[in-house]
Symmetry: C2
Subunit: 155 residues, 2 copies
DNA sequence: CACAAACAGGACTAAAACAGTACAGTATCT
DNA sequence: AGATACTGTACTGTTTTAGTCCTGTTTGTG
């Protein structure tokens, strides 16, 4: 299926939520407003902060915010933050390039596939994913997103 | 990682092998020459035949061959034959389109991601993956491919 | 300073997906 | 008839994923 992790799916939901009000938001707050359960949101945000996409502040009034202007963030960045480099085959490790280029006669070819996929994801920005919320009742919005993109946490 | 199944990786190896001599080849023959074990090769070929990419002939002198000219086969076809439609998120089922377009405010956006990925894979053809074998000792070739793309079956 | 808010890191478990194998059945050729 | 070779499906052990929880650290507030 060439599927993305569920966590990445949730992450987009949460990030879109964070995108709406650009202030520093706590994990609990985001969990509340996105409908994704707190432990999961927390896990996602920690990872995103670790990879530098978000910045975090500890202590009272702490929370998460974008580390840079969110306008330029691409889906590549989001996916790679949560799943590591986009690598279609197992032989390609963290470097992003196949480490056996010199010995495997297929290497350059699989690399070409990776590059093609990555480039296509580069062209989709996070803000392109933002739901057109202005036309919807916020509660409906939340309900539908949870139902489809965060189905695990329904009653 | 956005990774493809191991079976799909093997499939490319086996298909490249089949590409070299375009005759009808038996599963056992292909297993022998590609280094992938027979049951696995058999599973892959059966699936590829089921989805129409390959044609099969039973009985003595039977085997598998391409159902159409292999020149035009894209990676999309190979991947979809083995893993089903390319769908980055779980909400997109067999149809290839998100089935909740009318109710999910994100739907069109995820679809855009899918389309972008699929298009980029459309542009990579199977014959582009063919190892440049003419420069290599066939035994080395086989050893390296097995080591990297079919690691399960090493002694 | 004590306490509460909030993030950091990692360990753990249950469930799902995958890889690989096996086997009984059917078609074809000689 | 018998050998070859594909077909379909079921089974099992392993690996990955999803989700939760706990313990520690940082920071603001009274
Ligand atoms: S080892 Fe990386 S493509 Fe073959
Ligand atoms: S339900 Fe398919 S994109 Fe939201």
């Amino acid at each position: 299926m060439l599927k993305v992790n569920k966590l990445t799916d949730y992450a987009v939901v949460v990030l879109c939520d964070l995108l709406r009000g650009q202030a520093l938001r706590s994990a609990a707050d985001l969990a509340q407003s996105s409908g994704v359960p707190l432990p999961t949101v927390s896990k996602i945000l920690k990872q995103l902060a670790r990879t530098g996409l978000l910045q975090s502040a500890r202590g009272v009034n702490g929370g998460y915010g974008f580390a840079k202007s969110p306008d330029g963030i691409s889906m590549t960045e989001v996916i790679e933050a949560l799943e590591g480099p986009i690598a279609v085959t197992g032989c390609i490790e963290d470097s992003g390039d196949c480490e056996h280029l010199h010995e495997c006669p297929m290497s350059g070819h699989w690399n070409a596939v990776n590059v093609a996929v990555r480039r296509s994801l580069d062209e989709v920005r996070l803000i392109d994913m933002l739901p057109e919320a202005r036309f919807m009742d916020p509660e409906d919005l939340s309900r539908v997103i949870v139902a489809r993109h965060a189905p695990a946490m329904q009653a």
